[in-house]
């Protein structure tokens, strides 16, 4: 177990390096001169030249990468050329927003997906199964930006119940925060709910045919107790560990959801920065995201191992 952990940790650093090289390389290949993009309407040649020097664009690629790595090791992820704010500040400002969105989405997904999965497993072959299955399919088949637009149309424009965009920190006004986040969290969580439902279903099916469940039934316990207390509890761990791996999907989905609902989170920051050729920001965000993803993967793997002694060999 310890050995496994060490081995995994050892692979994290080279992976991160590769990620940074990949994104760095990709960005530098993007056509278009960032100095020109940032020089604004007037395109004053002096300003363009000044920006080019500031962005080290006059230096060769490996040198630029070197500058960036040196900065990262010092804790300086660079500066957003557009707003002159340090990337680290931007990351720290926006990460909590996307994390909140992702957590809310995951919570919604759990609230919808697990019961649906249980219903589907218990009512296997019946209409309930079909219904739950259909629901899960709807979740993974609907493009989330389309759903978002439709929800805005309904709840913000027509009914006026919820705000169409914006974000208020939960520490400032919890109610406004939830009102603004509920639609995007639902849109985002919808897709994951479908996947979670499937994981739950298969985990429950496996568990329900286990010996201890049969014993519980033989003991005369009600079906509901059997399902909820015994089966579900044991099925939960693999469900959650597998679900945590969906974080990657959540982050991808957050990109578009944040665009549609104008939520000032990571996803929106990255997309805008790619279009603005704000290299440092994209670099920093992808690095942080990749680190988070790798860490979570590691934790999920550990949890999975911890839970399932059979896999430890």
């Amino acid at each position: 177990m310890f050995e496994f952990l060490l081995k995994r940790l050892a692979s994290v650093v080279p992976t991160l390096i590769l990620v940074s090289v990949l994104i760095f390389g990709l960005q530098q290949l993007l056509p278009g001169d960032p100095a020109m993009v940032l020089a604004g309407e007037e395109q004053d040649p002096t300003v363009v030249a000044y920006l080019r020097v500031k962005l080290h664009l006059d230096k060769p690629l490996p040198v630029r990468y070197g500058y960036w790595v040196a900065g990262v090791l010092k804790g300086d992820l660079g500066e957003s050329i557009r707003s002159q704010e340090p990337v680290l500040t931007l990351v720290l400002q926006k990460l909590p927003v996307t994390v909140e969105l992702a957590l809310l989405a995951f919570a919604i997904a759990l609230l919808i997906g697990i019961p649906a999965g249980v219903v589907s497993a218990v009512g296997r072959g019946t209409a309930w199964d079909a219904l739950a299955n259909g629901f899960s399919l709807w979740g993974i088949s609907t493009p989330n930006f389309w759903l978002g637009i439709l929800l805005i149309m309904l709840f913000s424009v027509q009914l006026g119940w919820l705000p169409a965009s914006g974000y208020v920190s939960p520490f400032v006004d919890l109610r406004a925060n939830l009102a603004a986040m509920i639609m995007p969290a639902f849109v985002l969580g919808n897709g994951i709910a479908g996947v979670l439902m499937r994981h739950t279903r298969s985990a429950m099916l496996q568990v329900m045919s286990a010996d201890y469940v049969r014993t519980a039934r033989a003991k005369g316990l009600s079906e509901r107790v059997v399902v909820l207390k015994h089966a579900l509890r044991n099925a939960l761990t693999p469900i959650i560990t597998l679900g945590a791996l969906e974080l990657g999907t959540l982050l991808s989905g957050a990109v578009l959801t944040e665009q549609v609902f104008t939520i000032p989170g990571f996803g929106k920051l990255v997309v805008d920065s790619v279009f603005n050729r704000d290299y440092a920001v994209v670099q920093g965000v992808v690095l942080v995201t990749a680190s988070a993803y790798i860490t979570l993967n590691l934790l999920a793997d550990l949890a999975y191992f911890a839970v399932n002694p059979k896999l430890r060999s």
């Binding site: 993007l30 056509p31 278009g32 001169d33 960032p34 020109m36 993009v37 940032l38 020089a39 604004g40 309407e41 007037e42 395109q43 004053d44 040649p45 002096t46 300003v47 000044y50 920006l51 500031k54 957003s80 557009r82 707003s83 002159q84 704010e85 931007l90 400002q93 926006k94 805005i152 913000s156 424009v157 006026g160 705000p163 169409a164 965009s165 914006g166 974000y167 665009q259 549609v260 609902f261 104008t262 000032p264 929106k268 920051l269 805008d272 279009f275 603005n276 050729r277």
Partner: protein
């Protein structure tokens, strides 16, 4: 007795309510750095109009009115502008605005590395402090657009003390002299400004706070206004205007811009110009212009929220050259011209950015010109890429708009002067350059107008840019908001705005 107390308490509360007012503005983009010297975006100017006062301002008719300047006078030879600074003005940090501060600011605009105002103030050679409240700007040659330049960011005054203290970081905590001072900014989320009690014109300021929220999606921006989360939004989608006016629940402003929407044609920027009949032959370009139905374009692309035009200023502008009126669509003549040029079916690529307006224009132009025999291929490129291509001359024609400047020179010089930065067409004519210099040196509007007419005759003959129309600035705001001034630069002025309870 209790009743009286209650009533007076309620009145007090009511008064307090009236005073604790926040104006919530929705912007179409997130501004860039909030430093007038370095600022490069249009949307940043909206925030500046509440944050930073400038020497002069413009009114609804594009007249120059004093703001931080009290009065001005040109010297006899027009090579020096003497400005008397308004007394009693302080910056947000308490420092006084005086002639020394103005000198500091002009020099900062000219010398700060990365300053975007350098080109605008290039004609100013030096600044003299005549006395404590009088400053003189010296010019190499008379420069008529100077006053107009000082109504924008080049005329904005920041606190010298703060600028020197903050240095590079000035943009994260700008200290200016406008009605509101900077409180905080969260990138892509909000900019918060707070009432400055030392403002010289504070009796006309009726808000305690102003917040600017960038919401790029026009539909979402409007939804926010409708649901009451915002009080004012800029750049409403033209397709939403009709319904808004009919519904009568929100107020709408439609102001003709000082900029334009046009198509820039590569006539000399690169080799490519010679390889394409459109770039090579002015007759083909004339045929192209004649095959366009500008009114139709305005209708389809902007839902008629635009005024057709064929010059860098709108037909309603005082400096519009009446000797070159907007041509009517004439397919027959277009075909004849193409025949005479020997290319009955010219083909070229129209470059656009991926913005929906630009793409719609391209599609409509493609359809309209097909009738005359043109085969237009559309190439969409992301903004950054398309800028690069334009700069290199890697295009045949490019759909490009310009936000506009109060003085026609701002819409003209950088575009049609030889080798100027925004001259993507690659137009170069010694004759035109001479006329451009002349137009800048004459202070008398009537004399300038004559020169502009000559420039129009020269330039429009070659058609480096086919001007299509002048869009309307479309604003929507709460019916409780009054005092909104329809100034053609598209910037909301917060002074004078009142919100009914």
């Amino acid at each position: 007795m209790k009743k009286k107390l209650l009533i007076s308490l309620l009145l007090l509360a009511g008064l307090a309510q009236v005073h604790a007012q926040t104006l919530r503005v929705g912007l179409a983009e997130d501004p860039d750095a909030l430093d007038p010297t370095r600022a490069r975006s249009f949307v940043g100017r909206i925030v500046f109009s509440a944050l930073c006062d400038k020497l002069f301002d413009i009114d609804e008719k594009l007249n120059i009115v004093p703001q931080l300047a009290q009065s001005y006078a040109w010297s006899a030879d027009s090579k020096a502008l003497t400005i008397k600074v308004r007394p009693g003005v302080t910056f947000h940090d308490g420092e006084k605005l005086d002639a020394a501060a103005v000198k500091f600011n002009i020099e900062r605009h000219k010398t700060l590395p990365g300053s975007n105002r350098r080109g605008e103030l290039a004609p100013v050679t030096s600044v003299d402090v005549v006395d404590a409240m009088t400053v003189r700007l010296n010019l190499k040659e008379p420069f008529a657009p100077l006053l107009a330049t000082l109504t924008d960011r080049a005329g904005m005054m920041v606190s010298p003390k703060a600028a020197q203290a903050e240095g590079e970081k000035f943009a994260s905590n700008p200290v200016c002299s406008g009605p509101f001072k900077f409180v905080e900014r969260v990138a892509q989320d909000r900019i918060v400004l707070e009432r400055y009690d030392g403002y010289w014109n504070k009796q006309n300021v009726h808000f305690d706070k102003v917040t600017y929220t960038p919401i790029p999606d026009a539909t979402v921006r409007l939804a926010n206004l409708k649901s009451g989360q915002l009080d004012f939004i800029e750049r409403v989608a033209s397709s939403d205007i009709e319904k808004l006016i009919a519904e009568k629940k929100l107020k709408v402003a439609r102001i003709t811009e000082i900029g334009y929407q046009g198509i820039t044609i590569n006539i000399g920027k690169s080799e490519r110009a010679q390889q394409n009949p459109l770039g090579r032959d002015p007759r083909v370009r004339e045929a192209f212009e004649l095959s366009l139905d500008r009114q139709g374009l305005a209708q389809v692309v902007m839902d008629n929220e635009a005024t057709v035009g064929n010059q860098w200023v709108a037909p309603s502008n005082a400096f519009y050259a009446k000797n070159v009126p907007v041509p009517k669509r004439d397919i027959a003549k277009a075909k004849a011209l193409l025949k005479a040029a020997g290319v009955p079916h010219p083909s070229f690529t129209l470059l656009t950015s991926t913005s929906s307006d630009a793409q719609r224009i391209a599609l409509v132009v493609q359809a309209m010109t097909r009738e005359a025999g043109f085969d237009v291929k559309i190439q969409a490129a992301e903004f950054a890429t398309s800028l690069n291509m334009a700069d290199k001359g890697d295009f045949d024609a490019y759909v490009l708009a310009w936000s506009g400047r109060p003085d026609p020179d701002g819409n003209l010089f950088s575009f049609h002067g030889c080798k100027q930065p925004l001259n993507y067409a690659g137009y170069c004519s010694a004759e035109t350059d001479k006329l451009l210099d002349q137009s800048r040196a004459l202070l008398d509007p009537a004399a300038r107008k004559k020169v502009f007419e000559q420039i129009a005759a020269q330039v429009l003959k070659e058609r480096p840019v086919v001007y299509l129309y002048h869009r309307n600035w479309l604003w929507a705001y709460s019916p409780k908001l009054s005092g909104v001034r329809d100034i053609p630069d598209g910037l909301l002025r917060v002074t004078g705005l009142k919100m009914a309870p």
